[in-house]
């Protein structure tokens, strides 16, 4: 072991691109994404696991990037909100959020979209209860949740 906290090489695949980075072992995945890779679509809210603003997909499952050390997930595929659309063509979940006005300030939206995408990828026609459960860790302080839930239902139909 070198000096406490000395930088290390990290291999991380993000949105299909393989990166080799020199990072501090005590930087969270959230910090590496935003500060080293400049992918600022992932938001930092509470930074303590309570709000879901920082959700990214790790091998397709939502995780809280503020509480993940990149070293823990080396070799996994990370998907951030920047990796969801197909070029300029929005992902059906993004399109449905727009159509339903399921956002106001947009701060929770990247996390909401990724949690919704993960749900619909494994269960294209979820019940309301299943949607509520899947989004129960994503707090929104602006819109109220009804438009978000309706957007997820619509997106599911579009993806089916």
């Amino acid at each position: 072991m070198g000096n406490i906290g000395s930088r290390e090489i990290l291999r991380l695949s993000v949105n299909g691109r393989q990166h080799e980075l020199l990072v501090k072992p005590y930087a969270t995945l959230l910090e590496v994404l935003r500060e080293d890779l400049r992918l600022t679509g992932t938001k930092h809210g509470c930074e303590a696991g309570e709000c879901g603003a920082c959700v990214v997909l790790v091998d397709g499952t939502p995780q809280l990037s503020c509480l993940v050390l990149p070293g823990q997930i080396e070799g996994s595929e990370v998907t951030t909100i920047e990796g969801v659309s197909n070029g300029s063509e929005l992902h059906p979940v993004q399109q449905a959020f727009m159509d339903h006005g399921a956002l106001q300030c947009g701060y929770c939206t990247p996390g909401m979209v990724l949690s919704s995408k993960a749900l619909l990828d494994s269960n294209p026609s979820p019940t309301r209860d299943e949607i509520n459960e899947a989004l129960s860790g994503n707090l929104c302080r602006c819109t109220g949740y009804v438009s978000i839930i309706e957007a997820v239902e619509d997106a599911g139909r579009a993806m089916a």
């Binding site: 072991m1 070198g2 406490i4 906290g5 000395s6 290390e8 501090k24 072992p25 005590y26 930087a27 969270t28 910090e31 930092h44 930074e47 303590a48 696991g49 309570e50 879901g52 959700v55 790790v58 499952t61 939502p62 995780q63 809280l64 503020c66 509480l67 993940v68 050390l69 070293g71 823990q72 949690s115 459960e133 899947a134 129960s136 860790g137």
Partner: protein, 328 residues
């Protein structure tokens, strides 16, 4: 921004290697499984290891395995989500699986592990605050200070046992395997904890929990009831695990374990003796719940009033027993 302090990250590939580095660095090191408890605590300066040892790279700690006696052995690094998704575990231990499903949020359960959940730190409103907040008020006994802010006359910290799965595992008579520098031992989950919010675990700091062994469920039916502020995210304000064996409509045996009402989960099954050989009815349940809730000592260090939490302990016990009896 809440940043982590400096530390080095080690990735042992086996339990033996992890145990060795852990004993080498002693109190300067801590293991991390999912990190969902350790990392927020490190951000708030409640824990300050210089070396963090990742357990997630160790294959031995993964996997759910049926055992010869009809039970299951669950690796310490199995995530809570994996437990929730297991039909076998759900059928055998509905209470335990329900408790796992009620921990925080889906994204947290995707990285939070069952081993980390059994070792999760005790909680207190005076302790689960940022370093600056605690410094401004004056530190407390659990970290950096010398008195308890909740119970100043208390000789020990009264922070709250907060694992949802621990009471459910205890109610099924589960054990854990611990590996340390002196080898391996197996202890009942119940004896992992003690009545001290600061030194809440009996295991040595350099022992690694490698698996949870759930015995055959036999005829035990089980449930878990959690009282909390919101329907998601929050820790338990009261948690009750119940397990029951019925013969027709009569109770044959009943176990009750309560948590979040003191520094350790409490087995209060003694009080359920009054149910044996009887049918469950409202009056009897109320009697049993009143008796079982007696050792609960909620203090003014969690959300909502402690008087209400004490009252809810009784209600949650009644509900847990009813729900266990109704499991199909």
């Amino acid at each position: 921004m809440l940043r982590l302090p400096r530390f080095s990250y080690l990735r042992p590939g086996s339990v033996a290697e992890a145990a060795q580095v852990l004993s080498e660095y002693g109190s300067r090191a801590r293991v991390v499984a999912g990190g969902t408890d350790l990392l927020p605590k490190m951000k708030r300066g409640q824990m300050e290891p210089e070396v963090v040892i990742g357990l997630g790279h160790i294959n031995e700690l993964r996997g759910i395995r049926a055992t010869e006696d009809g039970g299951f052995e669950i690796g310490a690094c199995v995530t809570l989500s994996e437990v929730v998704a297991s039909p076998e575990l759900r059928a055998a231990y509905p209470g335990y699986v329900h408790a796992a499903a009620l921990v925080s949020t889906p994204a947290l359960r995707n990285s939070g592990t069952i081993g980390g959940n059994l070792c999760v730190d005790t909680r207190c409103n005076y302790y689960d605050e940022s370093y600056e907040w605690r410094k401004a008020l004056g530190f407390c006994m659990k970290k950096d200070g010398n008195i308890c802010r909740v119970a100043p006359a208390s000789a020990t910290c009264r922070a709250i046992a907060s694992s949802d799965t621990a009471p459910a595992a205890i109610s099924m008579g589960a054990t854990v395997v611990l590996v340390g520098p002196n080898g391996q031992r197996e202890v009942p989950v119940e004896s992992l904890y003690q009545d001290d919010g600061q030194f809440y675990m009996t295991k040595a700091p350099d022992e690694i929990l490698t698996s949870l062994r759930m015995p055959s469920p036999g005829h035990w039916k089980s449930s878990y009831v959690k009282v909390r502020n919101r329907g998601s995210i929050d820790f338990p304000l009261v948690g009750v695990a119940a397990a029951i064996q019925m013969k027709g409509s009569l109770v044959e045996a009943c176990r009750i374990v309560i948590t979040a009402v003191g520094p350790q989960p409490l087995d209060v099954s003694q009080a359920a003796g009054a149910l044996v050989g009887k049918e469950i009815d409202d009056t009897l349940l109320e009697e049993v719940a009143t008796e079982a809730a007696k050792p609960a000592r909620p203090l003014d260090n969690a959300d909502l009033s402690y008087v209400w939490r004490k009252r809810m302990t009784r209600r949650a016990i009644e509900q847990a027993i009813r729900e266990a009896a109704e499991v199909g």
